[in-house]
């Protein structure tokens, strides 16, 4: 079928299939899945300038479907999401400034992909280590499976910082936490997202769990809330620049909507540590795709 806006002919079934795959990931892990969708879209013939914007557009819709399900399951902390957005927006802008500086230094093409790979590998290794430790703790200490966390040091320290004003997060089981901690975590994830040009779900999810001590299921739901705002904003800015094929995004969203429901529903059948262990594979896939891209472009060679 011809998509008149981007001027390409692609099977709508294929696009809906890509949406379905990414929808499952989004619903289950609370990530946008851009790092998986983008290579598939390029492979299926979507022009490069339309890939990012169109992906953001379908991500917005898919996340709305998944968020409605997570909200019904009590997995969304809207107060936390709204406060973090402040830091995220500032962080994204700061990240864009860092990119501009790197461009002026002529090192953006190597620094960003290498930083991306390093961050992905650290996130993957740490999440896998912690979740395996948590699963062992459940077996040996008979801990509540939902609350088990193999690494709580950072979250405890962050929660003990007493810089006013404070806010309570009943949906996340936190009585009192400094608002600056939430904005700070939002800023850090926004900074990385702005620098790396991604939605940042795979960074934000671990930060919410390990940095703030948010329960895994609530972290997944709240991450989706953040994705809707950031991807919605990204859709508008990219569309104004003529880089979004909305019809293509609508078609992808049809598949993603079903996938997101399956993913969101499936979280009911897995405890937090198991979800985190499975999540740890995602950054590895992302890193492999970036390395493959660098090899193809000849930026790095062995």
């Amino acid at each position: 079928m011809l998509f008149a806006i981007s001027g390409v002919t692609i099977s709508p079934i294929l696009l809906a299939g890509i949406g379905f795959l990414v929808g499952i990931l989004g619903g289950f892990f609370g990530v946008g899945g851009g790092f998986i969708a983008a290579p598939f879209m390029i492979w299926s013939g979507v022009p490069t300038n339309f890939v990012v914007g169109t992906d953001l557009a379908h991500m917005t819709g898919k996340s709305i479907v998944a968020l409605r399900h997570h909200r019904a399951l009590g997995h969304v902390d809207a107060k936390l999401g709204f406060i973090m957005v402040i830091g995220t927006v500032i962080g994204v802008e700061a990240g864009a400034q860092v990119i501009e500086w790197l461009k002026s230094q002529g090192s953006v093409d190597i620094v960003i992909p290498v930083a991306y790979i390093v961050i992905l590998l650290i996130v993957s290794a740490f999440t896998a280590y912690e979740s395996i430790r948590a699963i062992r703790m459940i077996r040996t200490d008979s801990l509540d499976v939902k609350d088990a966390l193999g690494f709580q040091g950072v979250a405890r320290r962050v929660q003990s910082l007493r810089i006013p004003p404070f806010v309570s997060l009943p949906a996340s089981g936190i009585e009192s936490i400094s608002i600056w901690n939430l904005i700070g975590v939002g800023f850090l994830t926004g900074l990385m997202a702005g620098m790396l040009g991604v939605g940042g779900g795979f960074i934000r999810m671990p930060m919410l769990i390990y940095g703030l001590g948010i329960p895994t299921h609530v972290a997944v739901g709240t991450d989706l809330f953040e994705i809707i705002i950031s991807a919605g904003y990204g859709t508008l800015t990219h569309a104004i620049k003529g880089n979004v094929d909305i019809l293509m995004a609508l078609v992808m969203q049809t598949g993603a909507a079903i996938g997101a429901q399956i993913g969101a529903t499936s979280t009911r059948f897995f405890a937090g540590p198991r979800i985190r262990l499975m999540f740890s594979v995602l950054p590895l896939i992302g890193a492999a795709l970036v390395i493959a891209n660098l090899l193809n472009e000849g930026t790095i060679h062995f």
Binding site: A4, I5, T60, I64, R68, L236, A239, G242, T254, Q261
Partner: protein, 85 residues
Amino acid sequence: MEEKADRSFKLIIRNFLIEMVIYGILLVVYFFLALRYLSQPLADYFNSNLTLYAFIGLGLIVAQAVFLDMLVTFLFNAIGLDRME
């Protein structure tokens, strides 16, 4: 106790599969309607006014997500099935 949990799990899976079938049918119908009626008007907006196109596009994405989900909820209530939640 275990038998009760097993029955509850089967009920959840059954309702989930019915929900997926309803959702799938709605999406296929919508899919063809959208491709048929939205293609040309969207292309016209894209070529004439990108800002308007951007807002209409985002509106369509949000509306599609909310509308389909609400429709499924309505249908489930109408036929007396609980949703997965």
